[in-house]
């Protein structure tokens, strides 16, 4: 069973990571590279000539295959990492009578997106390169704690008996009442429209990636157990 678990998560993670990378190249990375033009000063928004306008144009992906290859590779690593944890939880629930099918796997994937991307992203939105943030350690701690609290809350909603599900409300709220670490100053050099669009596209592609990951984890696992 362990072998099926590991191999299913690996196959699902590699496939979901590949698809997520292709989606990122279509939607996210061009905006990221546009943001870099402001990070390096090649473009300047609110230039000193009095104009508040900047031309909107994403640079081409170009032929930096080493850079983009690494993006594909690390998406596979990330999605395999999330897939291993997600499938372990799915198999745990399956063992307790919540039967795992590719269709319920899809719901698990969406729940994973909510816990891992959306909940921490509410406090710490996806940022363009060049964004300056507070010290990284406390931000990582807040991020990890928010994921754990939100995942617990979703588990209580899905599997909690009776009033237990209501405990999800304080669990979901607590990280945001405590608040993510922030600086007292705005440092952004990129146009706000570009930052907002980057964040929204990043959420959209992550939702697609997580949905595919949940579906494929369940699909490979149920198939390998039938054989």
């Amino acid at each position: 069973m362990t072998k099926n678990l590991l191999s299913s998560a690996l196959l699902a993670g590699v496939a979901a990571g590949l698809i997520a990378a292709l989606l990122q190249f279509s939607f996210v990375i061009p905006h990221l590279m546009e943001g870099e033009l402001y990070e390096t000063g090649e473009r300047v928004h609110f230039a000193t000539d009095g104009s508040t306008q900047s031309d909107r144009a994403q640079p081409a992906l170009g032929n930096d295959f080493a850079r983009h290859g690494m993006t594909v590779a690390f998406n596979m690593v990330t999605y395999t990492g999330y897939g291993l944890i997600l499938l372990a939880l799915m198999v745990l629930a399956d063992g307790k009578g919540h039967k795992l099918t590719p269709r319920t796997g899809l719901i698990w994937g969406v729940a994973g997106f909510i816990a891992v991307q959306l909940a921490p992203g509410i406090g710490q939105p996806p940022v363009l390169p060049g964004a300056i943030g507070s010290e990284v350690g406390p931000r990582q701690a807040w991020w990890a704690a928010t994921i754990i609290a939100s995942a617990l809350a979703l588990a209580l909603i899905a599997f909690g008996k009776g009033w237990m599900a209501l405990l999800s409300i304080p669990l979901l709220l607590a990280p945001h009442i405590i608040g993510a670490p922030y600086l007292d100053t705005y440092f952004g050099v990129a146009p706000p429209e570009l930052s907002a669009r980057f964040a929204a596209l990043s959420f959209g592609t992550a939702l697609a990636g997580w949905s595919i990951l949940g579906f494929l984890c369940a699909w490979f696992w149920t198939r390998s157990n039938e054989g």
């Binding site: 362990t2 990375i29 990221l32 990330t78 395999t80 990492g81 745990l92 992203g121 943030g133 992550a206």
Partner: protein, 56 residues
């Protein structure tokens, strides 16, 4: 008797299996999203931004 032993072993394996899967997952995420080593950070840079890891 034999059956009982086998089923105990299987359930032990499965709890161990789940733990191994979770640890392996955390290990991969440490590399792809958390670790601050410059080589890892630069290679994973675009992916870290796209997946909103709090990274720098």
């Amino acid at each position: 008797m034999t059956t009982q032993t086998a089923s105990i072993e299987r359930s032990d394996n499965s709890a161990m299996g789940l733990a191994i899967a979770v640890l392996a997952g955390v290990f991969l995420l440490m590399a792809s999203g958390i670790a601050q080593a410059t080589v890892l950070h630069d290679a994973a840079h675009d992916q870290r931004h796209a997946m909103a890891f709090p990274c720098h």
